[in-house]
Structure formats: C-alpha cells, structure tokens
C-alpha cells in the first residue's frame, strides 16, 4: 500500500527546513514579488506563507557586540548596540505581467564608513535632503489619502 503525503505535509516539511537553515547575520536589503503559493523566510524573520499576490521590501540591519576589540555579529537584545548604517534606496516596481521594469537605486554607507559620512558636510547634505524629500512625499501622500477619504464620505 502506498501512502501519499498531502500538500500540507510537504509545506510543513519545507517550512521546517527553512526555519532550520536560517539566514546569515549580515546587512541585507531585499525585495520580493510573488504570485502563487510561497513559503519563504525573509532575512532574520520567521517563516511566512503567501497564497496569491504579495510584494515586499525588507532591510535587515544586524546588531553587533564588541569582542576582543572587534565588532562581532550577534542576535539583537533590548540593549544591544546597532550597526551604523546611512543609506538611501529607491525601488520602482512595474507590473511584471506587462514587462514593466524593476528598478533599484541604492546608496549605503555601512559601519565605520557611516560614522565618517555622518561627520562630513557633503554626506550630511545628501542624507538630509533625501530625508527631507521622503518626509515631503510622505506628507503629500497622507494629504492625498485624506482628501480621497473625505471625498468618499461625501
């Protein structure tokens, strides 16, 4: 007599494998666009299951501890220091089903380079203006959503 594993069994086994393999504790930036059935693990996060369409942008910044005068990666705790990172990133997701592009532009300063950049006027200006733009666009988007909601109520 043959015994067949149901799909759920295979998915559970896959999730267990994914959970056991885990991810390296590194600074990473990722995007994902899915259409279908997916069980996956985003960097340093728990396993998640998706059925249908989903899109995600994730950045993982590891925490570090000082060990033998070197900064060694470790799991996050409530009081642990965070790795220094300054960065700007822009992701444009087109509709993949009509061959529209995925465009990524990113600039990162990591670790000691981020500390250096934070003290230099040129980089302060870059990150300041980028942050200002993001803030401005966020306010515009919030205002647009608010007016749309008001229009819908009326």
């Amino acid at each position: 007599m043959t015994r067949r594993w149901p799909v759920v069994g295979w998915m559970a086994a896959g999730a267990a494998v994914l959970a056991l393999t885990g991810c390296a504790n590194r600074l990473a930036f990722g995007t994902a666009t899915k259409f279908g059935l997916d069980v996956s693990q985003r960097p340093d996060q728990t396993v998640e299951m998706t059925l249908g369409y989903d899109r995600a942008e994730v950045i993982v910044i590891p925490t570090y501890t000082t060990k033998d005068d070197e900064r060694a990666a470790k799991d996050a705790t409530a009081n642990s220091d965070t790795y220094s990172v300054l960065g700007t990133f822009q992701v444009i997701h087109g509709n993949p089903f009509v061959n529209q592009a995925l465009i990524i532009h990113q600039f990162f300063a990591t670790g000691r380079a981020a500390s250096v950049a934070a003290q230099k006027p040129g980089f302060q200006e870059i990150f300041g203006s980028e942050a200002g733009l993001i803030y401005k666009r966020g306010k515009e988007e919030a205002a647009r959503q608010s007016s749309t909601e008001k229009g819908a109520r009326q």
């Binding site: 885990g22 693990q41 380079a113």
Partner: protein, 217 residues
C-alpha cells in the same frame, strides 16, 4: 464458466500488453525529456558549475564596473554549494559582483568557459547556450542577486530560503561592511547593472559624485 473465463482472459491479454507498452513508452519519453532538460548548478569556492542546458550571458569586469552574470536554467534542475535546492520550470538568476572603486582584486577576474562544447567560446554581452557544461572561474561572492522562478522550487541557502509554486521574483543586496556602496539595477538591462564600493577612507569628492548621480532628482 471455464471456457468463458478463458475467452475473457484471451481477449484481455492484448489490451493489457498494449496498455503496459503505452505506459513504458510514456515513461521513457518522460525520463528522456527529464534527462534532456535536467541540470544542476554547483557554486562553491569562487567556482560555478552548470551541468545541463542553460541559457546565459555575462559582462566581464573592467576598471569601473564589476562582473555580471545571468544564467537561465530550464526544466528540472538541482542546486548545490552555497545554495541548495530543486526546481522544476525556469530559474533565472542574475548575480552582480561589487567592484571596488580602485579596480578588481588580483585573481578575481571571472572567466566563463564551455569546455564540452564544440561551438565558439561564449561571447560577452550576448546570449549564449550551453547544452552540457558551463564553468565560471574566479567568481567572487555577489553583492546583488536577482532570482526569478516560473514553476516550482524548493531552495535554501545564503541567497534565499523558499518553497514556492508560481511566479516569484526576489532580489537581495548585501552592502559590504565598513564601506560606501552604490547599486543601480534595471531589470530591462541587467547587464548594465552598476555596483561599486569605496573603502571608509573614500575620496573627498565622493559626496559630490553621489549627489550628482545617485540622489533622487
């Protein structure tokens, strides 16, 4: 009763034989197709091996940009080394190596060869086909990877942990520690991807360069 039974037996035997033959032919066709379309990718220690049919293109590094390689595997294919898995369908992987601003490290210039092919050596920038074996030597760990899957895939490793059926597109960028890095990627032109890194003691005009070229207009 016995006569009837025999008659029934005799009339059924040819149909069983033909059904068995059909099943055998079908199995042979499936196994042949699987063997023809089956492949394996092994990446370890700076060397990549692709066994089986793949479609690929690449851009060697120069003084300003790092290496880019795009490999499309078709059919049933396995993966081993830094990433383990099994896929059925199409797996399209683009890997971009970050280029230090002062030029590539010595001995880290990737070379793409198809040792078992009678065709001309693979040409950079153009699509190439490798039916049996593609080897990439001197390939450093990529700073940016794009994986697109059409079909079913189960994979685990440094790039991604996933079990998926359908259409999936994932990217993963790993900016190096203690450095400045820039990445520009457009999925319509993956061979034009730019990934450059500067050490923490970056040149004084880096901020101006970044401001002029990379910051949101």
């Amino acid at each position: 009763m016995r006569t009837t039974g025999r008659a029934t037996h005799h009339t059924r035997r040819p149909s069983r034989h033909s059904a068995a033959r059909r099943s055998a032919v079908r199995a042979a066709v499936l196994v042949s197709a699987a063997l023809l379309l089956a492949g394996c990718a092994v990446r370890m220690g700076g060397v990549e091996h692709y066994v089986g049919p793949v479609l690929f293109r690449f851009r060697p590094p120069d003084e300003t940009v790092g290496a880019v390689t795009q490999v499309i595997r078709l059919g049933v294919s396995g993966e081993a080394g830094s990433q383990w898995g099994l896929a059925a369908g199409v797996v399209d992987r683009v890997a971009v190596v970050a280029q230090p601003a002062d030029g590539p490290a010595p001995g880290m210039r990737p070379r793409w060869t198809t040792p078992l092919s009678f065709l001309s050596p693979p040409a950079p920038g153009a699509w190439n086909v490798s039916l049996l074996y593609l080897r990439v030597d001197g390939m450093p760990r990529p700073a940016f990877v794009v994986r697109r899957t059409y079909g079913a895939e189960m994979t685990a490793g440094a790039e991604i942990n996933a079990l998926s059926i359908g259409w999936m597109a994932r990217t993963r960028a790993e900016p190096p520690d203690h450095s400045f890095s820039v990445l520009r990627f457009d999925s319509r032109r993956p061979m034009d991807t730019v990934s450059v890194t500067w050490a923490e003691d970056a040149p004084p005009d880096l901020a101006t360069w970044i401001s002029n070229r990379e910051v949101t207009p």
